[in-house]
Amino acid sequence: MRPLRVLALCAAVLLAPLQAHAADPVMDPDLRAKAKRATDEGLRFLRSVQGEDGSWLGSVGVTALALRAFLESHRGYDESDGAFITRPVAFLLSKVNDDGSISESIQNRNYNTATAIFALKATGNPTYATVIAGAQKFLTGLQIDEGEGYARDHKYYGGIGYGGDERPDLSNQYLALEALSKTALDPKDPVWEKALVFVNRTQNRSESNDQAWAGNDGGFTYMPGYSPYGGTASYGGMTHAGLISLIYAGVDRSDPRVQAAYDWIRANYTLDENPGVKGRHGLFYYFTAFAKSMSAVGEAEVVDVANQRHNWRNDLARKLLSLQAPDGTWVNSDSQRWWEGVKELVTARSVIALNLAVR
């Protein structure tokens, strides 16, 4: 018996690492290590092109994304790490306007303000609470409702757009809701319920979408009644944005709307393209939204409609690693839309996505 016990003990010692490897359902350890190195390389690039004022491209939006990429990385950067963190924070604070928005121009005020307060909150510094509160008020003020003369049955009701008189859309909506959730806006604030009215109207689900055009594949489109890819077709980036919006607005994961969106994702699971989109438009936007929604859902694996199991972290990491350039950057070389030809922006987005995968 003794030799058997010894043999068993040896086997246990030898097999333990393999068991640990096999037992890790979250992410492949090798991939995790490579993904972390990739984020380091991306952040190294961002530091190398950072402006004297701490900003990237003089843009609040790009600066906030890059700052978020640093703060959420596995390195645990914060303001004590030096000027490469404190200067972009100062830059963002220097762009706070009287109306609470944080933007260097009238363009993209929602996007800029939302990404800025997300980054400021991520610093963990309570001194920014007043700025964040003012920005929250600006974002909630952007919501289209009775205050702007819109009735509840108008297709724009509850929506948030770019930040001026432009029409609302799901992309701006989800970014605003993400920021408001991150900065702990009161869950009872009416902005959430109104936002759901708009979000419902962008989902191809006739049971919850009162618009005549609504289909039933469960996916989401860009605006009520409009998809850039034809008619009212659902596509990947917006479906993940819609799923995130539902979750942040407090909709339970068992809700049929959430289930329908998740089923669309299962039916169209891919990281080779932005499903439903022409060419490679918005590819990196899709990767980031994918990472955010999968993190929010909380499942380690996605089982597609063919019953194939997909570890989304591994898949996303592999894809992003394959697309990273030798200088540590990412860029969409096939499409300029949504600023994806801008290395700083796309690198920041990719690092944010990898940060979520390795977390």
């Binding site: 121009s105 363009q107 001026g164 008189d165 432009e166 029409r167 300029q336 839309r337």
Partner: protein, 235 residues
């Protein structure tokens, strides 16, 4: 064209006075109809639309021979814009600065179009045809984001295409991101690209230079034509 027709029936100062009354009325009615007939757009979008209508109607009403000098008609259009926008569309205290800036833009763009028409008249084009040509040029330039948008997406020339359009100049004054508004976002790829609107001060300076250049050219052409006519008579 309205001005040209009026000039034919009642030449000179009477035509100008008639146009000076009719034009603001037309613009006011259009502004009210727009606000109440086209819901779903914010104040700034409506102001931009009224500014465009003001420029277009003002140019169509251009009386060609306007007493009060070169600046009279553009200033009249600016005054129309300044009066119509708050009255027909509404303006809070904070927005009056935007309305005033738009009124200035209307005056300057109107000056460019009127200068262009004056140049054509000096070249012996009828006032009606000159007005129509100016308006056509305005429309083609304003539509640049539509017909040049695909080229801009491929070439990276978004800023140039946007700068060429007088709509962009007025939109910058109106503080309205029109390329990301409903209609333009659907019909032009520019709204999804990275770009900057032209600086309003630079746009205004460009209008002044263009208007002045047209007037100077018109004067030179007119002087040459008059001289040739004198020579022909003397001969």
């Amino acid at each position: 064209m309205i001005g040209a027709a009026a000039t034919q029936r009642a030449p000179g100062a009477r035509a100008s006075v008639w146009c000076a009354w009719v034009t603001p009325v037309i613009v006011f009615v259009a502004a009210v109809a727009l606000r109440h007939g086209v819901p779903g757009h914010g104040l700034h979008a409506h102001w931009l639309a009224v500014a465009v209508i003001c420029v277009a109607v003002g140019h169509l009403s251009w009386p060609a021979r306007c007493p009060g000098g070169l600046l009279a008609w553009p200033l009249l259009m600016a005054g129309t814009a300044l009066a119509v926008m708050p009255a027909a569309i509404g303006a809070s205290q904070a927005d009056l600065a935007v309305v005033a800036a738009l009124a200035l833009g209307v005056a300057l763009l109107g000056g460019v179009l009127d200068g262009f028409a004056a140049l054509l008249v000096a070249l012996r084009v009828s006032p009606g045809a000159a007005c129509a040509s100016g308006l056509a040029l305005f429309a083609v330039a304003a539509a640049a984001p539509l017909w040049l948008g695909p080229w801009a997406e491929l070439s990276g020339g978004a800023d140039l295409v946007i700068a060429v359009s007088p709509l962009s100049y007025l939109a910058a004054l109106a503080q309205y991101d029109y390329l990301r508004g409903q209609w333009f976002y659907v019909h032009s790829p520019l709204g999804s690209l990275r770009f900057d609107y032209p600086d309003p001060a630079a746009g205004s300076a460009a209008c002044v230079v263009l208007a002045a250049a047209c007037r100077v050219l018109a004067r030179c052409v007119g002087a040459r034509t008059a001289s040739a006519a004198r020579d022909a008579r003397d001969a």
